[in-house]
Each structure stands twice: as structure tokens, then as C-alpha cells.
């Protein structure tokens, strides 16, 4: 099975405290460390596991600047067979549809049975997979937490839905799936693994290679634009109880009793 996985280089938000830069046009990026989007990493691991079982190859693709290459390379160190970087100044400022358009053009240059994306990334939109599927006119399933290959024409997938339940469906290949965290346990990629793929060739495709019109990409083609970043004004919020722990505990017990919290 030929699998394409779309990955994104994003800031690590775990311990990073995201702050808005002066004028709000961007966040403070100086102290940020970047890595592959966590959901995308699960997707690459899943693709590698599928190919280990049924054969084929895994290609990893990313849209970004030259620094995005490090993420493609890391996923190849993990076990992906090929990598592609879509990079061009003209791609700057693309909205979700723009990115999906670029990816579609790249997909058309290959022959993939299955395309995976992560369910969410740093902007929380979760839209690329669905858009790409519609552009390619293939079936889609989002928030996928299990994949079973039925034969070379279809898969059985589980989607994570509300209440902790799982929606099982059969889906025809080729298709696009967006992958939820926890679907597997991604293998570790150490510095050594990355060094081993340090000199592997990763082709870079620009606007000309994808044969797209200028108005379908970049800021020019974007119909959704981010205007600024800001930290919302904190409303009144909770009444913070003051005093020693004992005093606070006593006040709290009174409030809880009044609200029926203590039986």
C-alpha cells in the first residue's frame, strides 16, 4: 500500500508559554522549540505499521519553509521511506484551503492508496484532511483511532466519538483519514536515527513544480485571514478565597453546604 502522510512543523506547547508579540501580528517565537505535530507523528507511526504488515511504502510530505525539512527528515528517521517538502515564497499566508490545494497538487503527482493527516494541529482547525478528501473526491474519516486493512480495496476504521464510544465504518480505498492521538505507541526516534538520514535527498517542490495558478495559493488566494493574536481580557472569573488553608477550607465548606455539595 502506498501511503502519504501530511505532517506539520509546530511549536511545542507543552511547557512553552505562548505569548503574544508586541503588536499582535504574531506570537513570540524567539524562545520556542519546534517539533512535528503530535497527531501527525501518530499518523506516521500508523502508516509504518500498516506497511510493515501489508507491504508498500510511506511518504511524508510537509508544506513549510526550509526549516520544515527537519520534521520530514525526523519522520524518515522513524521509518518513512520517502519525504517531500513543498516550499515556495508564494505559499506564504495560505489559508487552510490553500494548503489543501498545494497538497492535492502533490498527491496528483503520485499514486497513493491512503492519505493520512493528524486530526488537529497548532491552529486547532482540523480541516486539511477533510478538504483534501473532497478535492480528491475520495471518502474521508476524521478522528480515527483504529485502522484495519480488510483487503486492498477497503479498510475498517474506528472513529472516536462523544462519550468515549467508537464509531466503526468500512471505507473504500483510496481515502483520506485524520488520525487521533493514542491510536498506537509511536516508536522513539533518537539523535542517532536522525543522523543516519542526514544526507538523504528530500525533493523540494515549488509553485512551478505543482503547476498551480498564483491566485489559488498564498496570501493572494486566502479567503480566511488571521488578523492578529491576542490574549482575551480575563473576565471576573472565580471568587478566589483568601486566608490560611484552614480558613479557606472552612469558608469553602460553608459554600459547598449551601449548594448541596456535601451530603
Amino acid at each position: 500500500m502506498e501511503i502519504l502522510v501530511c505532517v506539520k512543523r509546530v511549536p511545542d506547547t507543552a511547557e512553552n508559554e505562548i505569548e503574544v508579540a508586541g503588536d499582535g501580528s504574531d506570537i513570540e517565537r524567539d524562545d520556542l522549540v519546534y517539533s512535528v505535530n503530535e497527531w501527525d507523528n501518530y499518523a506516521v507511526e500508523e502508516a509504518i505499521q500498516i506497511v510493515d504488515k501489508v507491504g508498500g511504502s510511506v511518504t511524508v510530505i510537509s508544506v513549510g519553509d526550509e526549516e520544515a525539512e527537519e520534521v520530514v527528515r525526523r519522520e524518515m528517521a522513524m521509518g518513512a521511506n520517502h519525504g517531500i517538502l513543498l516550499s515556495d515564497d508564494a505559499f506564504e499566508g495560505s489559508d487552510g484551503k490553500g494548503i489543501a490545494t498545494l497538497l492535492k497538487a502533490a498527491v496528483d503527482k503520485g499514486n497513493y492508496d491512503l492519505i493520512l493527516t493528524g486530526a488537529l494541529a497548532d491552529d486547532g482547525a482540523g480541516q486539511i484532511g477533510g478538504m483534501l478528501a473532497a478535492m480528491l473526491d475520495v471518502p474521508y474519516a476524521s478522528v480515527v483511532n483504529s485502522i484495519e486493512t480488510l483487503d486492498d480495496k477497503k479498510l475498517k476504521v474506528g472513529r472516536e466519538i462523544e462519550g468515549g464510544n467508537q464509531e466503526m465504518s468500512e471505507i473504500d480505498l483510496p481515502c483520506v483519514l485524520s488520525i487521533q492521538t493514542g491510536i498506537n505507541e509511536p516508536r522513539y526516534v533518537g539523535i542517532r536515527g536522525i543522523r543516519k538520514v542526514a544526507s538523504v535527498e528530500i525533493p523540494v517542490w515549488g509553485a512551478a513544480d505543482l503547476g498551480l495558478a498564483a491566485d489559488s495559493m498564498g496570501a493572494a488566494g486566502a479567503r480566511v485571514k488571521r488578523l492578529d493574536y491576542f490574549l482575551p481580557e480575563l473576565g471576573e472569573g472565580a471568587e478566589i478565597l483568601e486566608g490560611s488553608m484552614e480558613e479557606v477550607a472552612e469558608k469553602l465548606i460553608d459554600l459547598l453546604k449551601a449548594k448541596g455539595g456535601i451530603k
Binding site: 511547557e15 512553552n16 522513539y188 526516534v189 533518537g190 539523535i191 542517532r192
Partner: protein
């Protein structure tokens, strides 16, 4: 003069001259033995290289102390003494066994030098030796068969019980000494019977008892006993010789080699591959131990040498906590693998399979805290830590790292600390000290004589920052000109290396080494034993490194630091030896001396569990992030030991020990009854500061 009985060399067995048989038995025996040893060597010839032919004088000293001197045996007093007698007996009786072999075809054979008075002295010694061997065997058999000490038990997941092997060998040894004594006793009885000169038998020995037992027997009976006992002795002897390489008694022959080749240093870790320098590591195809043949020949020799005594597992904290690790079975399973795939008869096994998932499990290998208790106990100097590190290197190379460790490793790579906190916040702990004890940050040309290497946990953890602050105050009180690296400091990488991520460790080491050398400091002090060990053993080319306890003791002696009498006279203090100060660096006395500098402080010891028998708190560095399967926490076991010793304050000298023990006090429900404090906090609380 006619001998009293027909000697073996002159006898016939069913018409065949016995000397032919008694030449054949040794030939077949020794030949088979040599073949078995040749087969046993096969995997060692395919193994990874090791570097054990250096420092010969030290190695010879080790053999004299640990092998000949049985130095570690008395750590378990009764079995240790029994073994010492058995071992000494074997050494002594070796000459007699050799003589006996030749007697089978050379009548009246004596070893060169054994004819005259030395020979007579030797005979007396030998008579006592065979006797005490039998007594030792009896005691051992009763222990094994009836008392069944717990450390010999085989947990069900590791297979069947091994007692049969122990009893079989004890039986063979008993057969050897009994047959030898009967052989001699029957001759002496016959000599007496015939009025000939009877050879001297030492009183109250086995042969002496047999002689008296046989004194009334007929010559025909004595001849029978003489011939049969010789035959039994020779068959048993050569059977035993060939049986030795089949199981745990291989140690009888090879322990001397294993001790000669032993690990001479502590606290350090073997290189990824001997012969490959750090800067050539990228060229290696594969890292670590994935299949059996990736072990070095010395590690394979370790497997063969394992005596199955269980002393290692008896002191392993992971084992005590119920984790899936028992060091004894790392060796026994390794040994059995070698026996199965490289048998003494039949062809060698097929292509190697990965060890993880076959004889070892992932959790088994990740459970080890590298505390070194196992290596401390082993009477035949088997190494475990390097094997764990090598197996982990193999797993890391294959991507088999538990999810709980991947996040901190990734954070270490990106931010130089396992929590992923921002580098620029590494020196934030100094802010609270700003007024009274400003801490110099050695950047932008600032320099100092001493570097205080803080390391990650004391820099970032809310609770452990107190240790950093206390250390800074102590250094300040002693008038020491010191500074810290601040954001240029990265995690020492101590556990990164021991968890198998060698290249990340090399990265951290290079960055730290550069920063340290650029800072221009003349010496380094640290309050973190893991950092202390890393800088001393894993790094090179650095200025001298010492632990804060050494600094404290020296400065108190010199009068630079003065201490108030202990604040709370009612409390009983106990010092817990951190693994990386104690066992790995032999720093037992300085921390105790440091605690004792406080006048009036009442300190006790955890008898039987202190110094090199200290019990690991649970582990440091990356071990804090690992989620083990265990029945209880190591820290809880340790806190209960402290309670039993009558203490209400546990003094630690390691931030990881403090984390684990404070946690354990809560989990054990001992809050209010027991508390933990770091050495630096304790000293700092009692500092007399001139205003």
C-alpha cells in the same frame, strides 16, 4: 614388598587389565571435557570485543583478594563460611585427585615433591580437608533440602526449581570424598590386618572413621571396597569434570578467569563498542545489544560463571519492589540461551533472534535503577549495569522506548532538561537569594574559581531548588568564590547515557564541557551525586570535581564554616547513602562527617542496610519519569528501614533521593512521624553567619 591389596593399576576387571580402563577413563573424560570447553567457547569467539588485558597487577590483586581470599563470601556469613571451607578443601584435595588419576595405571604413583615429609604433611592436611568437605556438603544439603533459603527459590515465571542441581552436585562431591576415603581406609585396614606398615590416618577424619569401621572386615571384603571405591571415584571424578560446564558449577573452573577479567572501576559505563572512539560512533551500523552475539565475550563469560546464588537479586531494590527484574535471572537466562543455541553436542542454533521479546522483556530491562547493589554482592564479580545499558542502547536504536520516557528525552534534546522548561529559566532559583547571597552567573566574561554545577532537578524543581539555595548559602558562608553556568548549563546527561541514548548524552556532554572550559573555573562542586558521577566518570578533561559534603567537612575543619548546635535535640537522624555517592564512588564517610559536624546531633545507622548495602531510593534522572510495574515503591521500603532503625529524620545527600523519600513518606502514611531533609538544607539551617 608386596602391597596389602591389589592396586588398581595391577588389577583386572572382568578379565581386562584395569590399567587400560584407567587410562581410558581419564582420556575420555579429559577429551570430552576439552571438547565441551571448546564448544562453550564458540559464542565468545563471535562476541563483541572487550578490554580486559590491561592493568595486570590490579587484576592479579583482585584474583588474590576476591577469588583466593573469597572476600565477598562472608557477606552472607553461614553459607559464606561453608563455601570457604569447601573451596579451600577443593584446592587442597586437587593434588590428591591428580595423584589418584595416575594411580590407575602407574602403580604407587606420587606427584613430584610429595614423597618425603611434605607428602606426609600433605596427607594429614588432605585427610582433614576431605572431612570438612563432607561436613560442609552436609550442611549445604540440609540448607537446600530442608531450610530452603528464600533467595534460592525460582519464581514461576523463570521455570522450574534448581534444587535438584544443587543436591546432585553435593551428592557427587560427597561421593568423591567418601570414595577417596574408603579407597585409602580399606588399604590401611588391610595393611593393619596383614601386619604391614599402615599409612598414617589423621585422627577424627573421615578416613580414620572408615579405617575403624573396616577394621574387622575380611581381606576379600577390603579388596572389594578398595577396587570398587577407586572405580567409583574415577568415574565420578570425570563425570563431575564434564558436568561442571553444564550448569552453575562451571564457576568452579572459570571463576578465576571471571575475577581476573573483572570490572576494575565503578560508576562508569562501558563504551558503545570497545575500540570505537566517541567521534566515530556515527559510523556504527548498530548500537547496543540486540542479539546474544552483541554481548562482549566477558559478558558471556559472566553468564557462564553465574553461581545461581541469588545474592544479587536478594539485594536488588527493583526485585524487592516487585518489578519484573531479578538480576540472577538475567544471568541464568543468558546462560541458558548460550547452552541452548551453542550446545556442547549437536549443531549450533540457527540465526539469532532479538533478545528483547525472547528471553528478556522490555520492562525487565527498564526497571533497573543502576544502583550497583547486585555487582557489590556477586562473589564472582559478574557485571550487570553495563549489560543493562547495552540492552537499553539496543532498544533505543530500534525505537523501543516506553512512551513515558520519550517526552523527557525529547525535552532533553530540545531544552537540555527533562521537563522541557525554557533554558533562560534555569537560573531562576537564584532570584530568591538576590539580596543576601547573590549568585554569579558565569557568562559574558564573568569568571570564578569554583563552578557550582547545579544540574536540572535542583534548577527547575520547586522543592529541589531549596537544595540549590542552601548549597549557594553554604558556599557563600565558606567564602568560596563561585558561580553557576546558568542557561549555558545543560543536564549532565547521566541517566540519558544509562538509559541507552548515547548520542544525546554525547551532545549534552560536549555542550557542558565547552561551557565549563570556557568559564575558566579551576574546580567544580556539586550537590547532585548523579552530576558528580557524570562529571567524574563520564566526562573528561574537566577541572577536579568534588561533592558538597567534602567541601563542608574541609571548611568546617578549617574553621571557615561554623555551625550551631542542633536545633531539635529530640530528633534522631539517619543518613541514607545515595547510590552514586556510596557504592559507585566510595564516598561514605564525608557525608556522615558533614552531618556529624553539627554539635549534639543524634545520628543512627540503618544496620545491615547502610554504606555499600544501602537500599536505592527508587532512582534518579529519567527513572523519575518511568512508570514501572511494581508492587510497592522502593522509597517506601527504604523509609520503613529508617523507621526500624529508630529514626525520625532521614538525611539525604541527593535531590533524587529527597524526591523519592519525601514522596514515600506520604505514600507510607508516615507524615508527621518521619521527615526527610537534604544534607545542605540541614547544614544551612545550622550555619552561624557573621553579620
Amino acid at each position: 614388598m608386596e602391597p596389602a591389596l591389589i592396586s588398581p593399576a595391577s588389577a583386572t576387571i572382568f578379565g581386562i587389565p584395569a590399567n587400560i580402563i584407567y587410562i581410558l577413563i581419564p582420556l575420555i573424560g579429559i577429551g570430552t571435557f576439552a571438547y565441551i570447553i571448546f564448544r562453550r567457547l564458540t559464542p565468545l569467539l563471535k562476541a563483541a570485543p572487550d578490554d580486559r588485558f590491561n592493568r595486570i597487577p590490579e587484576r592479579i590483586r583482585s584474583v588474590l583478594k576476591i577469588w583466593l581470599g573469597q572476600w565477598r563470601h562472608p557477606r552472607y556469613m553461614l553459607p559464606g563460611v561453608v563455601h570457604i571451607f569447601l573451596f579451600a578443601g577443593f584446592l587442597i584435595v586437587g593434588a590428591r585427585s591428580t595423584q589418584l588419576m595416575f594411580i590407575g595405571f602407574v602403580d604407587g604413583f606420587q606427584l613430584p615433591g610429595f614423597s618425603g615429609s611434605f607428602g606426609a604433611f600433605y596427607n594429614v592436611l588432605k585427610d582433614y580437608a576431605t572431612t570438612w568437605i563432607l561436613i560442609a556438603v552436609a550442611i549445604a544439603a540440609v540448607r537446600r533440602a530442608i531450610f530452603k533459603p528464600a533467595r534460592y527459590a525460582v519464581p514461576p515465571q523463570y521455570g522450574k526449581d534448581h534444587t535438584w542441581e544443587a543436591l546432585l552436585v553435593l551428592g557427587l562431591i560427597a561421593a568423591l570424598v567418601i570414595s577417596e576415603s574408603l579407597f585409602e581406609a580399606s588399604l590401611v585396614a588391610a595393611q593393619t590386618h596383614k601386619g604391614l606398615h599402615a599409612e598414617y590416618t589423621a585422627p577424627v577424619t573421615l578416613v580414620w572413621f572408615f579405617k575403624h569401621l573396616l577394621s574387622g572386615s575380611s581381606l576379600a571384603a577390603l579388596q572389594g571396597v578398595h577396587s570398587v571405591s577407586y572405580f567409583i571415584h574415577e568415574i565420578t571424578f570425570f563425570f563431575f569434570l564434564c558436568f561442571l560446564p553444564m550448569g552453575k558449577h562451571f564457576h568452579v573452573i572459570i571463576s578465576i578467569f571471571n575475577v581476573f577479567f573483572m570490572r576494575l572501576d565503578r560508576g562508569n559505563v562501558k563504551p558503545v563498542r570497545y575500540g570505537i572512539d566517541d567521534d566515530k560512533l556515527d559510523d556504527l551500523e548498530s548500537f547496543g545489544v540486540k542479539v546474544f552475539e552483541d554481548f562482549t565475550w566477558k559478558h558471556m563469560l559472566d553468564f557462564y560463571t553465574c553461581v545461581d546464588c541469588g545474592r544479587c537479586s536478594d539485594h536488588c531494590p527493583a526485585n524487592a519492589a516487585g518489578r519484573p527484574l531479578s538480576p540472577r535471572f538475567i544471568s541464568i537466562k543468558g546462560r541458558d540461551y548460550a547452552f541452548k543455541h551453542y550446545p556442547w553436542i549437536g549443531s549450533n542454533g540457527g540465526p539469532s533472534k532479538p533478545l528483547i521479546g525472547d528471553i528478556y522483556s522490555e520492562d525487565e530491562i527498564w526497571s533497573c535503577t543502576t544502583c550497583g547493589a547486585c555487582e557489590q554482592e556477586c562473589p564472582v564479580t559478574i557485571e550487570y549495569i553495563d549489560k543493562m545499558v547495552d540492552l537499553r542502547r539496543g532498544m533505543v536504536d530500534e525505537g523501543l522506548v516506553p512512551q513515558s520516557l520519550q517526552k523527557p528525552l525529547s525535552a532533553l534534546e530540545k531544552r537540555g532538561n527533562p521537563w522541557g522548561k525554557m533554558e533562560k529559566k534555569r537560573a531562576d532559583w537564584t532570584k530568591d537569594l538576590a539580596e543576601e547571597t547573590p549568585v554569579k552567573i558565569l557568562e559574558k566574561g564573568k569568571t570564578a574559581a569554583t563552578l557550582y554545577f547545579v544540574d536540572s532537578i535542583s534548577s527547575f524543581d520547586d522543592r529541589m531548588q531549596a537544595i540549590a539555595r542552601a548549597t549557594a548559602r553554604i558556599l557563600n558562608a565558606a567564602g568560596i568564590d563561585f558561580g553557576i553556568l546558568g542557561k549555558a548549563e545543560k543536564d549532565s546527561g547521566h541517566e540519558v547515557r544509562r538509559f541507552g541514548e548515547e548520542m544525546l548524552f554525547q551532545d549534552l556532554k560536549d555542550q557542558n564541557t565547552d561551557a565549563i572550559l570556557n568559564s575558566g573555573v579551576e574546580n567544580i562542586v556539586t550537590a547532585d551525586p548523579h552530576a558528580y558521577n557524570a562529571l567524574n566518570k563520564d566526562y573528561s578533561g574537566l577541572p577536579p570535581v568534588e561533592h558538597i559534603s567534602q567541601t563542608i567537612v574541609r571548611n568546617v575543619k578549617a574553621g571557615k564554616i561554623r555551625l550551631k548546635p542542633v536545633a531539635d535535640t529530640g530528633k534522631t537522624y539517619v543518613y541514607h547513602d545515595p547510590c552514586y555517592l556510596g557504592r559507585h564512588n566510595s564516598l561514605y564517610d564525608d557525608p556522615r562527617a558533614a552531618v556529624d559536624t553539627i554539635p549534639g546531633l543524634n545520628r543512627v545507622e540503618m544496620a545491615g542496610n547502610c554504606r555499600d548495602r544501602s537500599f536505592c531510593c527508587g532512582g534518579g534522572g529519567l527513572m523519575l519519569f518511568y512508570e514501572p510495574e511494581e508492587e510497592q515503591r522502593m522509597g517506601v521500603i527504604r523509609v520503613e528501614m529508617a523507621k526500624k532503625a529508630g529514626a525520625d529524620v532521614i538525611v539525604t545527600a541527593c535531590p533524587f533521593c529527597l524526591v523519592n523519600i519525601e514522596d514515600a513518606i506520604k505514600v507510607a502514611g508516615l507524615e508527621g512521624e518521619m521527615e526527610a531533609i537534604d544534607l545542605c538544607e540541614l547544614i544551612e539551617q545550622h550555619l552561624i553567619i557573621e553579620d
